[in-house]
């Protein structure tokens, strides 16, 4: 099997790449005047590890290659992050990014399956991506292909019943080639999760559903890569990596104000954010 086209093993390069992705997300959403920059920044290191840390096996010039590893963005509002990553991975020209949310553009506000190369599932109504991932696992078995499936979950969407239907089914079907990564930034749209709809004890919930649970600092790229690698050796059960993250990571005034959910920055705020990201 071919290896991922972009291999940047050293953490310093990956950190620089993460910085570039943060800037892409900032520029896309500021230009569009809307979108979810804070939810996207939260998971930058997770996707950097997956796509550029030698985890995912993919071919950008052959996006629907049958043997590819699948990545499903279940928290669909982090679409700007997905597009920025796919562009830098070579799926399409970066110029496309500046058409986010514009008329006649395929760069939709939330991902639509197949509308951009590399977009595996239609998400945006939360709670749905994990089920689709299980379908890819069962399909891989029937097709005798041994790819892996990665699903990025938001923490808020773990309030949805379908997540737990899927959690039960993934364990039932012994989906050991399925890895979920939970972007646990502790905030949902209207406030702190602990205040709005408490999820804890979260690791215990997943464990009791039959999953192997691991936890990691979701902004430590090296640690993420290690956890994702060790998930490969688990057999007979699915793995979830609970990644502890900061919503709006990289921009101080967004990190401390959850009301930025679903809001783009003003041009003035964007300039301040750019400086912070560049100096970080």
């Amino acid at each position: 099997m071919t290896e991922s086209p972009i291999q940047i093993p050293d953490t310093e390069s990956l950190k620089r790449l993460a910085k570039d992705l943060r800037l892409d997300i900032l520029d896309m959403t500021t230009k569009a005047g809307s979108g979810h920059p804070s939810s996207s920044w939260s998971a930058v290191e997770i996707l950097t590890a997956l796509y550029f840390g030698g985890i995912l096996n993919y071919r950008p010039d052959e996006p629907w290659w049958r043997e590819r590893d699948r990545f499903i963005m279940s928290k669909g509002h982090a679409a700007p992050l997905l597009y920025a990553v796919l562009a830098r991975a070579g799926y399409f020209d970066r110029e496309e990014l500046w058409r986010l949310r514009e008329i006649d553009s395929p760069v939709q506000g939330h991902p639509i399956q197949g509308m951009m190369p590399g977009v595996e599932a239609t998400t945006g109504s939360l709670g749905q991506g994990l089920s689709v991932g299980i379908g890819h696992i069962l399909g891989g078995r029937l097709n005798n292909l041994d790819y892996r499936v990665y699903v990025l979950l938001g923490d808020g969407e773990c309030e949805a019943g379908q997540i737990w239907e899927a959690a039960m089914a993934a364990a039932h079907f012994k989906c050991d080639r399925l890895t979920a990564i939970l972007d646990y930034n502790k905030y949902q749209e209207t406030g702190p999760i602990s205040r709005e709809m408490a999820l804890e004890p979260l690791a215990e919930k997943w464990r009791s559903f039959g999953w192997q649970v691991d936890e990691v600092d979701g902004h430590d790229i090296g640690a993420l890569i290690e956890k994702l690698k060790s998930a490969r050796s688990v057999s007979n059960q699915p793995v979830i990596i609970i990644a502890h993250t900061i919503k709006g990571k990289g921009v101080s005034f967004v990190e401390t104000d959850f009301r930025f959910h679903g809001r783009a920055l003003t041009p003035e705020q964007a300039e301040k954010a750019r400086e912070e990201i560049l100096c970080s």
């Binding site: 089920s131 399909g139 089914a169």
Partner: protein, 326 residues
Amino acid sequence: MQLGEIAGLKPSQPMRDIFGEALLAVCQENPKVVVLDGDLGNSTKAERVRFTFPERFFNIGIAESNLVGIGAGLAACDLIPWITSFSSFLLCNAYDQIRLSIAMSNINAKILGSHGGITLGKDGPTQMGIEDLALMGGLPTMVMLVPSDPTSMHAAVRAATEYIGPVFLRSSRVAMPFIYPANDCPFEIGKANIVRQGKDLTIIGNGIMVAAGLDAAALLEKEGIQARVIDLFTIRPLDRDTIVNAARETGAIVSAEEHLLHGGVGANIARIVAENYPVPMRFIGLADVYVESADPYDLLKKYHLTAQDIVLAARDVYKAKISGAS
């Protein structure tokens, strides 16, 4: 009097049994077909596949949202999933999943809504799918099929499997008599069949209402009224030409469906008629009610979905046509 008896139609097995046979047949023909069940395979008869091809049958349990999502993933792997359950549970529990993962994604998945309409009978309104066509109507890419007899059920399951894209197929618990000879049903998605010729008015039905329409046409013939009967087995895309020709050539239309009138097929037929060749129309279907548990035929009678009801509507619309009213 049995359904189809007046028209001389041959009785048959419950439609769900025919669906089970037809599903097994496409599984035998095409190794890409996989079947997903919401723990109702013994009722929908999808379990026929479980016994023959256990590796291609997945019971996802009583979790319709997950059922649809897993089906969507399988479709993305170049397989052809048939996602099966009761019409009511599948559509009402997993509408959003069907909307995003199947319709909006425009993927090659097939949805079987069993126990459509009120003729599941004694299990009552919680299990009945009286709004399924309205719900599926809200999904722009979804082809919608309602077979009217055993032959068209076989043809519909095959056509749905061969078609590339999302398809909804309604099945029923009751038996429907043969409209077509066995293995001989012209079935092209988007093309309605004229199953009886007539010049005075047209009865347009789907599912069980096609047999009722043929019974009604036989009764009307005794009164000297020649009714055309159309089997509108494709609800989307509608066969505009056959509908407009019926309006132009017969000058009056009765639409009949085992579904709510609000959001039903009749309203869509009326839109085509109104835009192209307005003629008097009458509508047989369910008023804004939930019906109760009862024998299917008692329900059809009480809620005015019988051949007699079609006859009354036909006389009325014919009178309107003759007098130039609407």
